[in-house]
Symmetry: C2
Subunit: 766 residues, 2 copies
């Protein structure tokens, strides 16, 4: 025996693994707790949820820490100490709550469907938990329910949630089904009411039911089919404050059921719950297609694999924290819009009819006032197929509703926020050549949505006055500047389709912002029908969602919104020097105490990264010869207003928009005008990134001399050639270019400062 040949096995294995070591999976960087609490009491939670979902899925199964969720709208607050249960649908990052359908909760001991004392929270089955006994990652959530000694694990497929509960030994183990769990029904705001519901025992391991509910979405019908790996011994149910009693069926508006089991120590009960917005039969069909078996770990692993595939569309190098923020951001951006069509394509249309989508997709949750800015431009780059589905959903809404979505939930318009920002989304997608869209039909929808008077969009007054008079429609300044931008998009689409008269009409309207620019104050200000400026005027004074000319912002924040013609805005404000001086003031001026709208947070002076009106503003220095100030403020936001903690966002994550800002900006550029094919250059913080495009080309960026202090661009190379422009174009990206930054701790004021370096109005060749 020759000792020299004796190589310890562990070394041999190490050697092999050193050569073919699998790279760390991208899903490992996703930290679903990011965005689940607020930075401080003046801010909003990211309003994200930690539970599992597949990309763009219907079922988003997550723990709720609130009985009647309102804020955070996700139902989960990282600061809370107890969990009510696990419901199957959630909104991610919104400011308004809804959904929370079909809540399950495992318990032991006495069944407490309704607490005897009405003063106690209605959830008698609530349990304490701690973050030390809680895990969340793509495709998997786990928590120890301390009151019951039950370990709960969750995973999901597109329409189906899967629960694995590990019980202690108990003759009184239960799984509660709560069909009454919803957004706060006492809150008159959305007039939430459950109209009808049913829970039905099909056999000793199958439960079905539904609820019909009006809330933020005016009419949702939620049907479920649930299967249990272990037969239950008995079932009790109650409607409202009824005493629970043994039955196999209950109809009502406040339904709860408890399924009763005897369990041995560590006995696992697995539950599958499939949903449909159309029928119980469809819910069952969805389950059969997605999770016919009982292998929880396999489903969890498949879920993670789906995410791995989506996340790998952008491969980055950076710090651990940057990767966690970036990939969690991508995860949040791909958490919605949600395909709520059944496997067979059935869905509820905007006119509340049941229809069938030929492409089997019907998307819910278009938070367009937020997402048209950067989330949709991100989708057009790396989710072109989804983008076509989004737009086809929007066009179907136009067909049954007369105009495109504003804020769409479950195919229904809730008129949250302002503008008609499906228009830039559609325009961007068509200009970028996304396949699968009927362009003529899309234009018809875009034009109708720009000419048919509807709530928040008084187009007759718009064309009559050349601005929105505040005495016709409140939030008039915000609507005016955003509507002018939407009109610019319509004009571009008209031009592309050779509709000259329409082009002339809408390009004229796209300049209406000028009519609210008060040269005396240097702000966009409101006028009434009579043309007079509204007084008194205080540029620091905040509006909310009505009753003021400004939407969730003040005049300072809304005086920078002319993405379609920034040179003209600069001219209005007196030229480059005056413009940049004003920006300097903007980024340094303190708020008046107590005057801030609750949606504004993440402040740098008047800049409020916690809400969308500010999102493009740091990039405006690029347009006026001071790109190093863009670099300064963009890097400041990236480094200071994002982190990998539960309060990692400066405000509501807003259905992907806050994340998309980070994703673009961390790579060094941002779509200031979301539809002109121009990306303004900021200050990259990633070491490198490569983005796989729909044409299979790879766009890449990289940074030399990276470092936390090195926030200033020294030089840029595009495809190896020195590049002095403060922007890149859509074509640069789609051609698979390489963008190379060299950074330094001091500004290079000669880079990108000439007039010809500044971003132009239009980035396409044609």
């Amino acid at each position: 025996m020759n000792r020299i040949l004796v190589i310890p096995f562990f070394l041999l294995w190490q050697g092999v693994s050193a050569q073919s070591i699998p790279p760390v999976k991208l899903v490992n960087y996703v930290k679903p707790f990011i965005g689940t609490s607020a930075v401080d009491t003046t801010s909003l939670s990211g309003s994200n949820f930690p539970g599992p979902t597949t990309p763009f899925a219907f079922v988003q199964l997550s723990p709720d820490t609130r009985d009647a969720p309102d804020d955070p709208a996700s139902g989960y607050d990282y600061n809370d100490k107890t969990i009510v249960g696990f419901s199957h649908t959630h909104l991610s990052g919104t400011g308004v709550a809804d959904l929370f359908d079909v809540l399950l909760m495992p318990t032991t001991g006495e069944v407490k469907l309704n607490p005897g004392n009405a003063k106690i929270s209605r959830s008698g089955y609530r349990s304490a938990f701690s973050h030390g006994q809680e895990t969340a990652r793509p495709g998997y959530y786990q928590v120890m329910l301390q009151d019951y000694g039950i370990n709960a694990e969750l995973t999901s497929a597109s329409h189906t949630g899967m629960h694995r509960y590990t019980f202690p030994a108990s003759t009184q183990s239960h799984i509660v089904i709560d069909m009454d769990h919803s957004l706060d029904k006492k809150r008159g705001y959305w007039e939430c009411r459950i109209i009808a519901g049913e829970i039905k025992v099909i056999n000793n391991h199958t439960i079905e039911g539904y609820r019909i509910i009006t809330g933020w979405a005016r009419l949702r019908k939620v049907y479920f089919h649930a299967e249990f790996s272990k037969p239950f011994d008995s079932v009790v149910m109650a409607n409202g404050k009824q005493k629970p009693y043994a039955t196999t069926l209950l109809n009502g508006t406040a339904l709860k059921a408890a399924l009763n089991f005897s369990t041995t120590d560590h006995e696992q009960v697995t539950v599958k719950v499939a949903l449909s917005s159309v029928s119980i039969e469809n819910a069952k069909q969805n389950m059969m297609a997605e999770i016919p078996g009982w292998d929880f770990d396999k489903i969890s692993s498949q879920n993670a694999d789906e995410w791995e595939k989506e996340l790998s569309k952008i491969i980055i190098e950076g710090t651990q924290e940057q990767k966690e923020i970036f990939y969690t951001g991508l995860y949040h951006a791909f958490t919605q819009p949600n395909n709520i069509a059944d496997i067979n394509g059935d869905y509820q249309a905007t006119d509340m009819t049941i229809r069938n989508a030929p492409d089997k997709v019907q998307y819910s949750t278009f938070s367009l006032w937020d997402t048209y800015r950067a989330a949709h431009p991100l989708y057009t780059l790396i989710q072109p197929e989804k983008t076509a589905g989004f737009i086809n959903t929007m066009i179907r809404q136009y067909e049954t509703y007369g105009y495109l979505p504003i804020w769409q939930l479950w195919g229904d318009e809730n008129y949250c926020m302002i503008g008609n920002h499906a228009i830039p989304v559609i325009t961007d997608a068509i200009l970028k050549g996304i396949p699968g869209i009927d362009v003529e039909k899309a234009y018809q929808a875009v034009k109708a949505s720009s000419t048919t008077d509807h709530p928040g969009s008084p187009f007759t007054a718009w064309e009559k006055y050349g601005y929105i008079p505040e005495d016709i429609e409140s939030q008039s300044v915000s609507i005016t500047v955003e509507m002018a931008y939407d009109d610019w998009c319509v004009a571009q689409l008209a031009k592309k389709l050779g509709k000259t008269a329409d082009y002339e009409r809408f390009i004229k309207r796209s300049a209406f912002y000028k009519n609210l620019y008060n040269a005396k104050t240097g702000f966009f200000q409101a006028r009434n029908k009579d043309g007079n400026w509204l007084t008194p005027f205080d540029p620091l004074s905040y509006g909310g969602n009505g009753g003021s000319p400004y939407t969730e912002a003040n005049a300072w924040q809304y005086s920078w919104y002319v993405p379609q013609n920034i040179p003209d805005l600069i001219k209005l404000m007196g030229g480059d020097r005056s413009f940049t001086a004003k920006l300097d003031t903007f980024f340094t001026l303190a708020n008046k105490p107590g005057d801030i709208n609750g949606n504004a947070s993440g402040f740098i002076g008047q800049y409020a990264h916690g809400n969308e009106p500010s999102h493009h503003i740091a990039y405006l220095y690029d347009y006026a010869g001071q790109p190093w100030k863009t670099q300064y403020y963009v890097s400041k936001v990236l480094n200071e207003l994002y982190n990998n903690s539960s309060s990692g966002y400066a405000g509501n994550e807003d259905c992907g928009q806050m994340s998309a800002w980070y994703i673009f900006s961390s790579m060094g550029f941002y779509p200031v005008n979301p539809a002109n094919g121009i990306y303004a250059i900021g200050s990259p913080i990633l070491k490198s990134a490569s983005m796989t495009l729909s044409n299979d080309k790879i766009f890449s960026m990289s940074v030399k001399n990276i470092g936390k202090q090195n926030i200033y661009i020294q030089s840029v190379k595009l495809n190896g050639k020195l590049y002095n422009k403060t922007y890149i174009t859509q074509d640069d990206i789609m051609n698979g270019s390489n963008l190379e930054f060299t950074m330094g701790a001091k500004p290079n004021k000669s880079w990108g400062t000439k007039a010809e370096d500044q971003p132009p109005l239009w980035g396409y060749k044609n």
Copy 2:
């Protein structure tokens, strides 16, 4: 020229017509204003509507005199002086309001969609009218709208209403469409709320739209397609208190539109409006199938022809008033249940899914607590095909809801009233051999509805206590006696199907009424769980719909309800003499002032013909050897509590039940137990009647020595043979027997008074 041959033409014509004179059409006896007002302020209106409908139709197009109808539930009160407009759906005879969908109103002058003064009724377009300029007959309604000089005419097909408006010369003629018109939304009782709606201009002669509404029916989706014979010049719309403005589309929850025309004097504009509960496409398809053209008179005539066919199922001789009451009663009995399935069979099921009925019928509006008594027994005799449709609809409700309808509106359960009286309806239909019913499935539904605890039906307590304890469920006496009857029906069905164990279980339950008979007082009285009688007890004290053991009645009225075993009731009450003496008191005892429930009216002592609990009681003397008293009180009700005026009913007409009582009783018999095949003989008031049966045989009755004073039976012949029994059987009717009464002014106390003459428990041979 031979003068003798010169016969004047008019004489010739007379001679011919004298021989072949067409009989007066039966529709001419129908007076739709009967039942449109109350007898007095202590009574309820019949709550019928005067507008056109085809038999059992979806669209029932009628004028509404109330803005937010509540009482009368039909929306039309004969005492009112103004009309709001013409809406397309109505309830006939109910105590609760709903429907009133898609209201149209022609006007002239300034468009007044919303009155400027909020204190004024919301219907700015209301007009005065007078009964002198108003006509109603089957298939036709007409009224002169005095404020506008517009003559409005209405007709309808099954899913389509047709309006013909004759305008004066005006440059400001309008047709208002009001999608906000509904039952009183301020009335918290039913929480009526419009969830969504749309009005859309398709072209200058087509309007479409919908509304989604929750009210007495929890969720109704009403889609319409409307076509106008004359193109409109312009359209204005408003949502809520909005100022009307020109638009072609509006979404909202309080929608109104005005279509504007210029009209010449006497210019007619015809409008067709088709409805669907599924989609606009289906509404349009319904219209194309039913009224593709524009011939108003033809549609009106077709509508009347449909009625003529239905009414001719019973041909009677009698006075003009009797014929008017009788045929209007038949008209009201056939006004519902309403087939709300579309032409293609689509309908909304109880679980709010959209399904397709293979037989293309899905019936709405089962007021079963009323109609199981005599209306459904009438349908089983002369509407067997419809009866199968009713029962198949009920079975579908069981399949999606878990139990049979109690009070069903638009496929939805509203739990109005008590009992599970789909059971006697199904039992009666199956025992009578109605084809087209899956008997095993029906039994499954019947048994589930008799064993699954549900609102108002605590069967677990029922079987535990042998009665409904008032401290478990209020209205406990009424529920107990009616539930015992339903159980008797289940038992009969079980027996027929050979389910012996079930028979034993339910026949036992059918005797539970005994457990609430208090021998000390001689009344059915409430007990609590502990078995104690509720005190204090006052047999004159009324209950309403909860909070008392009696439903819309008192102990006097509810102590006669054991139709399944009247001999036992007589025994409980101490035998024939004691029983009839008590009946004598019942029919003569005055009410305590101010104590009467609003649903009780039409009094003869404690007998209240205006509500259903009394309906069988006058016939009970037949069972105790004093049939002449049955004859006395039945003829008294027929002659005194029905007339052909607008207040022709003693209370709500109740979806055909008040009419069915008259139809049976006027022919001389009544189904005291609606499911045992026995009809107790009363006092016929018609000269003759012949009823065409489903087996094409004709059952006939006739009266010798008829006269208003001749209310007493002297003798009876059945098929020519003297007949001494106080009842006939289902077999007698179906064999096409002839029943001949000889009447007189004094009782013949030897007729029908022997024990063997009294109605038995069971009337079938098998």
